[in-house]
Structure formats: C-alpha cells, structure tokens
C-alpha cells in the first residue's frame, strides 16, 4: 500500500463517506494574529474519522497539530470551516469530546478516584454509580488500589493512565489525545501504547491521536495522517494494514519497517523545513 498524496486525488475521493463519519473536520483553518503579523497555524484541513476508528496525526513537534485538536475540542475557534460530530456542528467544548493532554492535567487537589469521577459528578450521577464506574476504570488501567492517592505521589506514566481513565469514564463520543505520552521515557511510553490499545480494543472508542513519534503513529493507528509544519497541513493519508490486536513485537516486522520508511521519506523534507524555520517564528 502506498501513500495517497491528498492533493493529487480527485475531490470526491478525498471525502470518504460523509454520512458514516463520526467526526468531520470540514475545511478548518486557523490564522493567529501575532504582533500585527498573521501567522497561519493550520491551513485548510479536511478529513473524517469513522466510528470506532483509531486515527493518528503525525507531524513535526508542536506546530499545528495541537491547534487542530483544540479546535476539535472546541477550546479554540477556527478561523474558517467547522467541525461536525455525529453530523452536528460543534460549538464550544463539551463532554462529548474528551481530551488527554501532553502536560499532566490531573487536578492535584483531588485523589485519583475523585479525578476519574470529576466529569461524572458534573453530570450529577449518584455516588454509588460513580464509584462503580471509577472502580471499573481503575481496574482497566491497572491502578487498582491507588484510588485514594493524590496525583503528586504518582509517576508520570501513572498520571497519564489516570488522565485516560478520567476521559474514558466520562464516556465521550470521541477521545482526543494530544501527545499523551510525549513527556514519558521510552520504556514507559511503550507500555502505555500497549495499554491504550488494550483499553481501546475493549471500549472501541473513536480516537484521534496526535504524535510526533513515527513508531507510535504506525503502531497505534488504523490510519496515519502525515502533517506538515508552518503552515500546518495534512500531506498524506497512510492506511496501516497491520492486523489487530497488535503487540509491541509488530514494531520489528517487515511490514512495519516498510511503512516507517515510507513515512520517513514523506516527512524528511518537511522536518528540514521546520527545523530551518524555528527561528523565524514561534510554534503555535
């Protein structure tokens, strides 16, 4: 399977099944005003995510990807275009789009349990039911017995597991993940990738996962969107035909290597561009 450069495809092929789309990013762009200068963080971006799909967006560090995810989450207004969830246009943030950030965003004054129950409590769910769900997710992320601890005493990997549990316990329509393992060391990251895939196999949530790590993008995704920097733009869509369930060992298979080489080729020139432009402006 080869990469499909988006630009070269006829228009109708670029828009897969609009009706079946769980999440539709409809020609979204973002221009920031910075000291009187207009900086394009995200150029006309258009794609769909289907129900239960795990889609990864791969791109060079920092630029554009986070903006895109924030627009989908409703935390940032797009300059043009819109986002549709279940064929309804979104406006502002909501519990239907859960998010896991790269930075540790557990509420430090709440215990692990209280963190996971945060969204449920907002919904007004009764306590017994809340506790049941919290226990279920603590088990799912392998942190049984850690419920009464404060985030301060957890490791980075544990914190992110709780953050994932907190987002999933809220039962969102889609889960947005912004480099959730970016701050973790290589070993922990590998474990977390496998864990997230296991959780996904069980819950079959629709996940949109942003990363700058090629291995991660291939290993996790059903499809990988390769993004270029400054302005942020989708360059190619690469289907990942590696069968599931996937384990860590697939990272050394021939198929995996081939996909990796293909993507590397695609982004190499872009990475150079980004590296040379770092001085010309801040990442957005």
């Amino acid at each position: 399977m080869t990469a499909l450069p988006l630009k070269d495809l006829p228009e109708h092929d670029r828009q897969p099944a609009a009706q079946g789309a769980k999440l539709r990013i409809h020609h979204v762009s973002k221009v920031f005003e910075q000291k009187g200068q207009r900086v394009t963080a995200l150029e006309d971006t258009h794609f769909d995510v289907r129900e239960g799909e795990f889609v990864t967006i791969l791109g060079p560090s920092g630029c554009g990807k986070s903006t895109l995810l924030k627009i989908i989450a409703g935390l940032t207004e797009p300059s043009s275009g819109y986002v549709m969830l279940n064929n309804r246009r979104i406006s502002g943030p909501g519990a239907d789009r859960g998010m896991v950030f790269q930075a540790y965003t557990l509420f430090p004054w709440l215990t692990v349990e209280e963190n996971i129950a945060f969204g449920l409590k907002l919904k007004g769910m009764p306590k017994t039911q809340r506790q049941e769900i919290v226990q279920q997710y603590l088990q799912l992320i392998g942190l049984d017995g850690f419920g009464s601890m404060y985030p301060n005493s957890l490791s980075g990997g544990m914190k992110q597991r709780v953050a994932i549990a907190r987002a999933l316990a809220n039962d969102p329509e889609v889960l947005l993940m912004d480099e959730p393992f970016g701050a973790l060391d290589a070993q922990t990251r590998t474990v977390m990738q496998e864990l997230l895939l296991q959780v996904w196999e069980k819950s079959h949530k629709t996940i949109l996962f942003v990363t700058h790590d090629i291995d991660e993008a291939i290993f996790m995704g059903d499809r990988v969107y390769v993004m270029t920097a400054r302005p942020g733009q989708l360059k190619a869509e690469i289907p990942i035909p590696i069968p599931r369930p996937r384990e860590f060992s697939v990272k050394t298979t021939r198929e995996f290597m081939r996909l990796k080489a293909e993507i590397l080729d695609l982004i190499r020139e872009e990475s150079w561009k980004a590296a040379n432009e770092i001085r010309s402006g801040e990442c957005l």
């Binding site: 909501g94 950030f101 965003t105 404060y150 809220n170």
Partner: protein, 266 residues
C-alpha cells in the same frame, strides 16, 4: 568533610541540624545582648539587660494592663485584616480570571498601592476621628491594595490546561471557576493571607503611634515618653511573638488544608 556535604546548592540537611541552626541564631543574639548589657558596654538607658526586660514584662502584665493593650491591638489587626481580605480575595480572583475586571481595577489599585498607608493617617483622623475605626482603616489601606494584586497573580498563574481539561469533561464556566480555579488558587490565597497579616501588624503599630490611648503601639510610645526603654523592648518582643504564633498557626492550617501538596503519602 561534613560541612562540604551540606554546602551544596539547594542541598538538603538533616532536620535536627536545621532546628539546631535556628536555635543557634537565637542563642547568638541572646549572647550578644547579655555581653552588651551585663558587660556594661551599653548604658541601661539605651539597652536594658534581659533580666530588666523580664522584670518590666512582669510589671506590665500585672500593673500596667499589658493584656488589655494586646487585646486592643489584636482586635484592630483582625478587623482591618479581615475586612481587607473579605474584599481583596474575591476582587483579586476576579481580576485574575477576567481581563475586564483587571482592566477596570488594576490601574487604580496599582496607583493607590504606592501611596504610603501612614500618610493617610492625618486624613483619616480628620474624617473619622481617632477611634478604633481609624486604626482599622489604616490597616485596611495598608493590606488591601497589596493583597488584591497578590491574589490576582495567584489566580493568573493557574494553569489554563487544568481549566481546559474541566471544559472537556463537561464543565461550564461557572463549574470551572468553582471546581478548578478556586481549589487551585486556595494554597496561594492562604499563603498570601499569611504574608499580608505580617504587614497588617506593621501598619497597626504605625496607626497606634498617632492618637491612640490603648494598644501595643500606644504602649511603646508611652514607654518611650517616660524613658522606660525596657517597656519598648517588651512591646516589640510581644508583637514579634504574636506574629510568630499566627505564622505557626497559618503554617499548620496550610498543611492540614493541603495534604495533596506533599509528596509520597496520602
């Protein structure tokens, strides 16, 4: 070499040593005081000896109504400080959360903040006389304007990502304020209160130096008028002690309220 090992940038030392060092600094101060006074280096009129101060302390306690002065001062500080905090904390939170509030209040507060509270004393006496209310007003002016800006900074420093996270979990603005901004700001608020309470005591003495008939500041002035140097020192020490007690209480409160700030145990 032991010393070498303790002289590391931001390095840790055993807690016993830490406490010991604190005691040592007090002991040195005490020793210098003893040498200067009992050694006859400084005349008693300028610096009375520890024993003279102790005797004076006892006399004031039994004959000169020291307790009454302490209560009068504590009342004024508490009232002025509470009033300032009741307005300063909400206003500061508002300023830190909404640019609109900041734009409206910040320039004015920043301007008044640089006016010395003590300079308001003549004006306040003209307006409201020399009663308790005037003293409370001085303390209010001295603490409120500092507090507002410090609380604003506390609210401003709350991570936007925590607030965003609450939105993606379904929080409304109101819920985000009550369940994220407030609890996140609370340690900073308590800390600010602890620091500004110390300032409130400073302004109390300033207020009581002028037109007062009770209170620790007044007592210090009286002692000076009759050249009871030991009385001045008693007054200063009592204020220091009261400050130490409230500070310790605040620290204890801090640890009790925010167990989540500590690492390790639950």
């Amino acid at each position: 070499m032991r010393l070498r090992q303790y002289l590391v940038l931001k390095g840790n030392i055993p807690s016993g040593l830490y406490i010991g060092l604190g005691c040592l600094s007090f002991a040195v101060l005490m020793a210098v005081w003893c040498i200067l006074t009992y050694g006859g280096v400084v005349p008693a009129l300028f610096l009375p000896s520890p024993s003279e101060v102790a005797v004076q302390f006892y006399r004031m306690l039994t004959e000169l109504n020291l307790v009454g002065d302490i209560l009068a001062s504590v009342y004024r500080v508490s009232a002025g400080f509470l009033l300032a905090s009741l307005m300063g904390v909400p206003l500061g939170l508002l300023m830190g959360s909404f640019k609109l509030a900041e734009g409206l209040i910040e320039p004015l507060v920043g301007f008044v903040r640089y006016m010395p509270a003590s300079a308001f004393i003549p004006l306040l006496i003209l307006w409201i006389g020399i009663g308790d209310l005037e003293k409370i007003a001085v303390i209010f002016i001295g603490t409120f304007f500092q507090q507002v800006l410090m609380i604003r900074d506390v609210a401003k420093n709350i991570s936007q990502e925590l607030i965003d996270t609450s939105y993606t979990l379904g929080a409304t603005q109101r819920a985000a304020f009550l369940k994220v901004v407030l609890p996140a700001a609370l340690p900073g608020i308590v800390d600010t209160l602890r620091i500004t309470l110390g300032w409130a005591w400073t302004y109390l003495v300033v207020a009581e130096l002028v037109g007062a008939s009770s209170g620790l500041g007044y007592m210090i002035m009286e002692a000076q008028r009759f050249l009871r140097t030991a009385g001045i020192i008693v007054g200063i020490l009592v204020i220091g002690l009261l400050g130490l007690i409230t500070d310790t209480l605040f620290k204890a409160l801090y640890h009790r309220m925010f167990p989540w700030l500590e690492r390790g145990t639950q």
